[in-house]
Amino acid sequence: MSRANDAHIARYRTMRRIRTFEERVGELFLKGESAGSMLHLSIGEEAVVGLTDHMRDGDTFTTHHRGHGIFLARGADPARMLAEIGGRGSGYCRGKGGSMHIADRGLGHLGANAIVGGGIPHVVGAGISARNAGSDAVSVAFFGDGAMSQGILYEAKNMAALWKLPVVFCCINNQYGMGTRVDRSAGHRDFPARATAFGLNGARADGAEVEEVFEAAQDVMDGARNGRAGFLEIDAYRFHGHARMDKSPYRSPEEEEEGRQRDPLARARNRIGDDITLDRIDDEAEAEMDKAMEDAIAAAPPDHASMFEDVYAEGTPPPRPQRERLMDILGESA
């Protein structure tokens, strides 16, 4: 098997793990084991692996609320992820953050964000850090098409270009921000032009074809590593509803059907063609995610006392629980 094929298969494996993981997240919700219903599945967007495959140890990134797949691609432990999504104490964030606020500093994940666009400017700062440290780390902001309407994106792009920072802005355009199709949110649909106008290296790739994303991302990531900030739009389709409760009544079954034809996983499978290998990968992914699911469900919720931890750094006094304040006031004058 050729090296290229190895890489293709590796990308297939990552995409398959993401797909299976997200399916389990949906089940976690159905079992009533998720913390809430604000779960945003990245099914259909797995071709982002074409970009993450250019990332290295030391690179950092921020994601939006639909970032499970990206995090997995960067090495996350699915059991700890599912535990976090289930609000368990053993989760990545001790059950405080949940699906929309998952992070792992060790893997370079500076945080998922529930504010559309909220994490975007952080990569500018990470870029300053990398530049000042003389490292060749790149920092990547992942966000959706909805964030193309948030002003802070343009502030961040301008800064990154102005200061020639090793920063990439990656827009995963899944055609929808909640129920709003992108033609109802964008005055003009040329997103790379909104990057080149600020001096960035702006590109676009078909999110149905992971290898096309990989190629487009090469130039953008290489440029960024050499101080040319970049922008990549990955053109994809959101297979499911916005969050777990959304049945997408605002789009037609025909459109959905067509969108789902643009399945990066199915296309990669077809391209590679080696069904035996791929079936094995599929099975492994199922087994891995089943195990992760079991672990997550078995995990305990966080201690009550942990609620007051992590507001401030260890070693500084935590916030005073209200009951203590009441005891001070009402206990005393009794």
Binding site: H101, G118, T180, A334
Partner: protein, 329 residues
């Protein structure tokens, strides 16, 4: 006729839009989707695209556009999906909407309503569960209403839509399915609290969803402790004589909010009650609010981070009878 908080809000919008062509809605998902919490369902079909405007995800732009529309003859209802996004729009809200009339010497009013919703209850985590009304209350020029009943959902929104000045109207995500009746008249005039329950031993002041918890607690405490429950309804204007009268009668005051306690509306109310009722007070006005922490996602922690009927009841009894609850022993 029994309806819900959600439907009452929708009814208020419909009635206002029928009465006044200048009322328009704009915000994310207010049209085709019908609102993230379903409040504006059906309004796009009914009033068309020029009056029900789906916007891009541009909160500062939405509020800014509403301001410009209000300055030029419309009466916009801008929706910000979660009050947690206030941090994106406080400049437009506090520096623009609230100050325009003043800065321009009275020439230019901004009769708009900013509809949004806040609070906990959906495991929506730290960026989607806040109660930030204290920020708005600290802004002169900005009206602030927070309905805690179905009838107020309707009447306060109608009232808000008659104000000549900008109103921040904060709903509670935990109340949309609350059932109740829309009264023929508002329970109190705009700017005045309503007495939701009469009592002699203790006054509890509250608003929004906590009203429901306080009422539960009050019922459970009676008849051994009789709590008077004051629903503040609007935080600006807030004609607080009703509250002060009550405290002067009961001699005790507890203020319950869902927001983080430090720097909260509870602090403001406590300060006012002390200033105005000092000689009548048996006990210090006491605040019961959210813990001073971001809201955690784990459901049990989330629930534990804010007051509920149990804690309110325990604290109320403690304040009146000096019987400490078990955990304070």
């Amino acid at each position: 006729m029994t309806t819900t908080y959600r439907d009452a809000l929708r009814q208020a919008l419909v009635d206002a839009m029928e009465d006044d062509d200048s009322v328009i809605l704009l915000g994310e998902e207010v049209g085709l989707y019908g609102g993230a919490y379903g409040v504006t369902k059906g309004l796009l079909d009914r009033f068309g695209e020029t009056r029900v405007i789906d916007t891009p995800i541009s909160e500062p732009g939405i509020v800014g556009a509403a301001i410009g529309a209000a300055m030029t003859g419309l009466r916009p209802v801008a929706e910000i999906m979660y009050v947690d996004f206030a941090g994106l729009v406080m400049d437009q809200l506090a520096n623009q909407a609230a100050k325009s009339r003043y800065m321009f010497g009275g020439q230019i009013g901004v009769p708009m309503v900013l509809r949004t919703q806040g609070g906990t209850g959906r495991s929506a985590a730290a960026q989607h569960s806040q109660s930030l009304e204290a920020w708005m209350m600290h802004v002169p020029g900005l009206r602030l209403a927070m309905p805690g009943t179905v009838s107020d959902a309707y009447h306060l929104l109608r009232d808000a839509l008659r104000q000549p000045d900008p109103v921040c109207f904060i709903e509670h995500k935990g109340l949309y399915t609350l059932k109740g009746e829309i009264g023929p008249e508002p329970d109190a005039p705009w700017g005045q609290p309503a007495i939701r329950r009469k009592g002699t031993d203790l006054t509890i002041a509250t608003y929004s969803r906590m009203l429901q918890e306080v009422l539960k607690a009050a019922e459970a405490l009676a008849p051994s402790v009789e709590v008077e429950v004051i629903d503040l309804r609007t935080l600006n204007p807030l004609e607080d004589e009703v509250l002060m009268d009550s405290v002067r009668r009961t001699g005790r005051c507890l203020i319950v909010t869902e927001a983080v306690t430090t720097g909260s509306v509870a602090s403001e109310i406590a300060a006012r009650v002390t200033e105005q009722c000092f000689d009548w007070l048996e006990e210090p006005p006491l605040r019961l609010g959210g813990e001073d922490i971001p809201v955690p996602v784990a459901p049990a922690l989330e629930a534990a981070s804010i007051p509920d009927a149990t804690l309110i009841g325990e604290t109320a009894r403690w304040l009146v009878t000096r019987e400490a609850p078990s955990w304070a022993a």
